[in-house]
């Protein structure tokens, strides 16, 4: 029997990036806001202290900062004709648990999507014709444009203290930046990070090939920085323990380092930890949420009433909650009907190992210290003769040289273990780097999320079921990207290279990216989207959904920059439109 609690104005499910942004914005507008987080409270000291955080076994290998599948996981299959089985331990992606969410253990690679990304269907049809898009590819326009989001990208970048070189300021192309990016109002708040040797070599090689490389935008501060909330950050010291670890000297942008010091002292904000939200409760009409139900660490159930419910959990967890709560018609791939769970996508990556002649000191690095070219992303190039849609950036990242998991492979023909392997490690560790491709994944009828018929979580709820594989379009695009990456790698004058094409089915092991998207797609049409352009549920107007769950397909960039921008965009819509007149913001 759930204990009913005192109502709040807004309840947020989760307490990571999007919840921190929404909480700050909504409490500034005077609302009483409560965030409910399933993990524990964490702060730089003691949880991420420099004294212990650089422990590769504990954090990277044994997943010290991540969610535990024992408590909640999903089931996975490549296609409808298979039976989905549980992801029994983490592999392909690493969601978080705890205050700060994945915002504390990301690398800090921060991008904006291209203007054409937001209009991918209409743009592709206009340029290449309707028939260019395969029949089972369910890509759709986002319902917002790049121009809509530009001021919010800016807001997130200045919140974080992004270190970068602008490429296009108000339409004027800037030397040294990404010439393909959408126009931005102003430069990044901080200059780029220092360049490692490998990024300098990549830069030269790319230029020799006629490409336009640029330093990747980093949520690792290149200088001490005080953000518009008045929160001070430190400066990155290139310690090489960024992703899957947390920052010990306040130089990686996270909720803890950018928002919480301004949010936590506020009287109208509170949070609960070690509490798992299991349902969004709806009234008898099913069109209005009354609040959420959660279970605390002792197994007691509580009902938390609220006027506004915002789902701020990690990507697929939001979709899981929508399905369990009956918000939006569940998607059925056989009929192509329904919306919740539809258009799940991911990222397709590949790499080229580069074995150089000189000392690269790979252990000196930062999570977003990289040099990239964007010629082959989005629709920056002519796809006509190529026969695929999408693209990605090609980058050389020097994020660290952690000995267990960041071995950059061995040259072709090296033994996998034994004396030969040992010799290769000895000879190549200091001299090897990788050129990576980071490609888009389109949406398909067969790539979706629903509830598993067999397996349950600790609360007896059905696990989320993921059905997903790469398609011909993605393999083709990825091969194209990888070949380009190999060209750049060769131009770096190495001893040898080893090309690792993305081949075979998508596997739940090993690690690829934590860029899970979709399942709660945003759009202009309620028949093909779960939320409208303001991230408001079409069905339940006092429920908003944050995060990459709303991406209708996934462009060729890391998602967090856009996740942050959309959160600010939605917060603005809530503050300036919804609160004045609660109800649907867009007429269906």
């Amino acid at each position: 029997m759930a204990t009913k609690l005192k109502s709040v104005d807004a309840v947020l499910v989760g307490f990571g990036w999007t919840a921190s942004i929404l909480a700050k914005e909504l409490t500034d507008a005077g609302l009483q806001v409560l965030a409910i987080e399933r993990g524990k409270f964490r702060d730089t000291v003691p949880d991420f202290a420099t004294t212990h955080i650089q422990d590769e076994l504990k954090y990277a290998v044994r997943h010290g900062l991540f969610e535990e599948p024992a408590r909640e996981t999903l089931t996975f299959r490549n296609s409808l004709d298979q039976e989905a089985l549980p992801m029994r331990h983490l592999g392909s992606f690493n969601p978080a648990s705890g205050v700060g969410g994945a915002g504390i253990h990301w690398n800090g690679q921060n991008w904006r999507f291209l203007p054409t990304d937001f209009k991918i269907r209409s743009h592709t049809e206009a340029r290449y014709g309707k028939n260019f898009i395969p029949a089972d590819m369910t890509i759709q326009d986002w319902g917002v444009t790049y121009d809509d989001l530009e001021p919010y990208y800016d807001k997130f970048e200045y919140l974080c203290g992004i270190s970068g070189q602008a490429g296009n300021v108000q339409g004027k192309i800037q030397p040294g930046g990404n010439p393909f990016e959408g126009p931005r109002a102003r430069a990044y708040p901080l200059p780029p990070l220092k360049r490692s040797y490998a990024t300098v070599l990549f830069d030269k090689a790319a230029k020799d090939l006629g490409l336009k490389p640029f330093p990747c935008a980093a949520a690792n501060t290149s200088q001490p920085y005080k953000n518009p909330y008045g929160v001070q950050m430190g400066q990155c010291t290139y310690c090489g323990f960024c992703e899957w670890f947390a920052c010990g000297n306040y130089s990686k942008s996270s909720p803890q380092t950018t928002i919480l010091p301004a949010l936590l002292p506020k009287d109208n904000f509170s949070y609960r930890t070690l509490c798992d939200v299991t349902r969004v409760n709806l009234d008898s009409t099913g069109k209005r949420a009354t609040g959420v139900t959660y279970v605390d660490v002792q197994g007691r159930e509580f009902e938390q009433p609220a006027d506004l419910v915002v789902l701020c959990a990690f990507a697929q967890h939001n979709v899981h909650l929508l399905l369990l709560s009956g918000i939006g018609k569940p998607y059925d791939p056989r009929t192509n009907q329904g919306v919740t769970g539809r258009n799940y996508a991911y990222q397709i990556t590949s790499s080229v190992n580069v074995f150089l002649k000189e000392n690269m000191n790979p252990f000196m690095g930062a999570g977003a210290l990289g040099q990239a070219v964007d010629e082959f992303n989005g629709d920056n190039f002519d796809h006509g003769p190529l026969g695929f849609i999408g693209g990605g950036y090609i980058a050389l990242w020097t994020t660290g040289g952690r000995p267990i998991l960041q071995q950059h492979g061995a040259p072709k023909g090296t033994a996998k273990w034994g004396g030969g392997w040992k010799k290769s490690m000895h000879e190549n560790y200091l001299k090897s780097v990788s050129v990576a491709t980071h490609g888009s994944v389109m949406s398909y009828r067969g790539s979706y999320l629903d509830l598993d018929p067999t397996y349950r979580d600790v609360y007896g709820n059905p696990l989320l079921r993921l059905t997903f594989d790469f398609h011909d379009n993605e393999y083709k695009m990825s091969k194209f990207e990888t070949d380009k990456a190999a060209l750049i790698a060769k131009a770096m004058n190495p001893q040898s290279i080893k090309i690792n094409y993305r081949e075979g089915h998508y596997s739940i092991l090993p690690y690829e990216t934590t860029h899970n998207t979709g399942g709660a797609a945003m759009g202009a049409d309620p028949k093909t989207s779960v939320v409208n352009r303001y991230l408001q549920s079409w069905d339940v107007s006092n429920v908003f959904v944050m995060g990459s769950s709303v991406f209708p397909q996934n462009p060729g960039y890391n998602p967090t920059g856009t996740v942050g921008a959309l959160a600010y965009w939605a917060a603005d819509a809530i503050k300036t439109k919804y609160l004045k007149n609660p109800g649907p913001l867009v007429q269906a």
Binding site: V45, P46, P224, G230, G234, C239, N249, P261, P265
Partner: protein, 416 residues
């Protein structure tokens, strides 16, 4: 308004007229007086002692360790039974000015009446007016844990005879109004000397040692506030002093431990005018020869080299390779007066237990330094501390593994 009714009621009971109970010329307990009282209570940092950890505000009960045993702070909420709700304004003034409580017994100078004696009658009145507005809390005062004969309060008569100089602040006509305001605050409500002045065996301030540094207890050393160039404020500008008190840090130093509490509970609330006055007063102390050795301490080269290795392995992530820290973020060790304080206790304490900067509206982030006690043994801590106190042009007396061990035990004992 509640206080006024109470005062009238009492006055009636005792046959006093209202006119006697409230001096002529006062406007009564107006809103402005209460607000002024609140500012003065902030300046006096009453909350830091009179609020227990996790306790109700101003209800007392905080254990104040002294070299003579533990004294517990008292309940100064207006509760009539267990707080000062029954105290008249006159009785309250007697406590602040003379160190004598309502029943006529002496207060111990753990309550810094030797400093509060300087506070004007009018200011004390405003303080009482503010205290009278607090939520009354029913909480009995704990008896002191002092050994005989100190637990006999009459003993304080002798102590006061020797060491207590009763009297309200007298402005120095040769000095500016700002200087006098600063002196009034520092020597009075601010009671800075209660920590920052060395004490004799009887716990009284040593003559001639005013504000030259003192032992706070619990292995925290309050550094010199005089103009020493190396271990005092000699190289701090007035603006830097103001920034430190207002926000908890400046380019040269960050408040840690008890001083971070002072910033959080007290100095961050002072007006800019008052902060500038404090700075003006402190900066006016004569520049003296460094108390710390002016010649470099004879530091064992091998020990220094061990310390340097430890510094590079443990400290450079924030304090950087050159000891300069990071502007606006991590305080410098090079040239730091706090690091070069004559007594190394604070430095050792911070290395062992870590420290957290005060989070104030001016500096929200509240950066923290982690604890190293589990990582470094006593010899390593001593080597490291000696290195940072004597590298980059720093000079300060050496510490030892034994001294570190004492601090470590003291911190563990305190559960810190």
């Amino acid at each position: 308004m509640h206080a006024l009714k109470l005062a009238c009621g009492l006055a009636g009971l005792l046959g006093l007229s209202i006119a006697n109970a409230i001096p002529a010329g006062a406007q009564g307990t107006t809103y402005t007086t209460i607000e002024r009282g609140r500012d003065l209570v902030n300046a006096g940092d009453c909350a830091s002692c009179h609020t227990d950890e996790g306790g109700k505000p101003y209800a007392g009960g905080l254990a104040v360790p002294t070299p003579f045993g533990t004294i517990y702070s008292t309940n100064i909420t207006p509760d009539p039974a267990t707080g000062i709700g029954k105290w008249s304004e006159q009785e309250f003034y007697r406590a602040m000015h003379d160190g004598i409580r309502r029943d006529g017994k002496h207060l111990y100078p753990a309550f810094p009446y030797p400093w509060f004696t300087k506070v004007s009658r009018e200011d004390v009145r405003a303080i009482k007016a503010f205290l009278d507005t607090l939520t009354p809390v029913r909480q009995e005062n704990k008896p002191t844990e002092l050994s005989w004969p100190l637990n006999v309060r009459e003993v304080m008569t002798g102590w006061n005879e020797l060491y207590f100089h009763e009297g309200a602040f007298k402005a120095d006509p040769k000095k500016s109004e700002q200087w006098n305001r600063g002196a009034y605050l520092v020597e009075g409500l601010g009671h800075c000397g209660a920590c920052h002045t060395a004490t004799n065996v009887l716990g009284a301030s040593k003559t001639g040692e005013k504000l030259k540094g003192g032992d706070f207890g619990e292995h925290w050393y309050a550094p010199s506030l005089t103009s020493g160039l190396r271990d005092g404020l000699g190289q701090w500008s007035s603006a830097e002093i103001v920034e430190y008190l207002k926000t908890g840090a400046n380019a040269k130093s960050a408040a840690a431990g008890p001083m971070a509490e002072v910033v959080k509970n007290s100095t961050q609330y002072l007006s800019d005018a008052d902060l500038n006055a404090v700075a003006a007063y402190l900066k006016d102390s004569p520049v003296e020869k460094d108390k710390a050795t002016t010649k470099p301490a004879a530091v064992d080269k091998q020990a220094l080299s061990r310390g340097e290795a430890l510094y590079f392995d443990n400290c450079t992530g924030c304090h950087m390779e050159n000891g300069e820290g990071l502007a606006h973020a991590f305080p410098p060790l090079k040239g730091s007066s706090a690091v070069q304080a004559e007594n190394s206790d604070t430095v050792v304490h911070v290395v062992l237990a870590g420290a957290k900067m005060a989070a104030t509206p001016g500096k929200l982030a509240g950066f923290a330094m982690p604890a190293f006690d589990w990582k470094l043994n006593d010899t390593e801590v001593a080597d490291l501390v000696n290195y940072i106190r004597n590298a980059w042009g720093n000079h300060a007396p050496l510490t030892s593994a034994d001294a570190v061990s004492k601090v470590r035990k003291g911190i563990e004992h305190a559960g810190g």
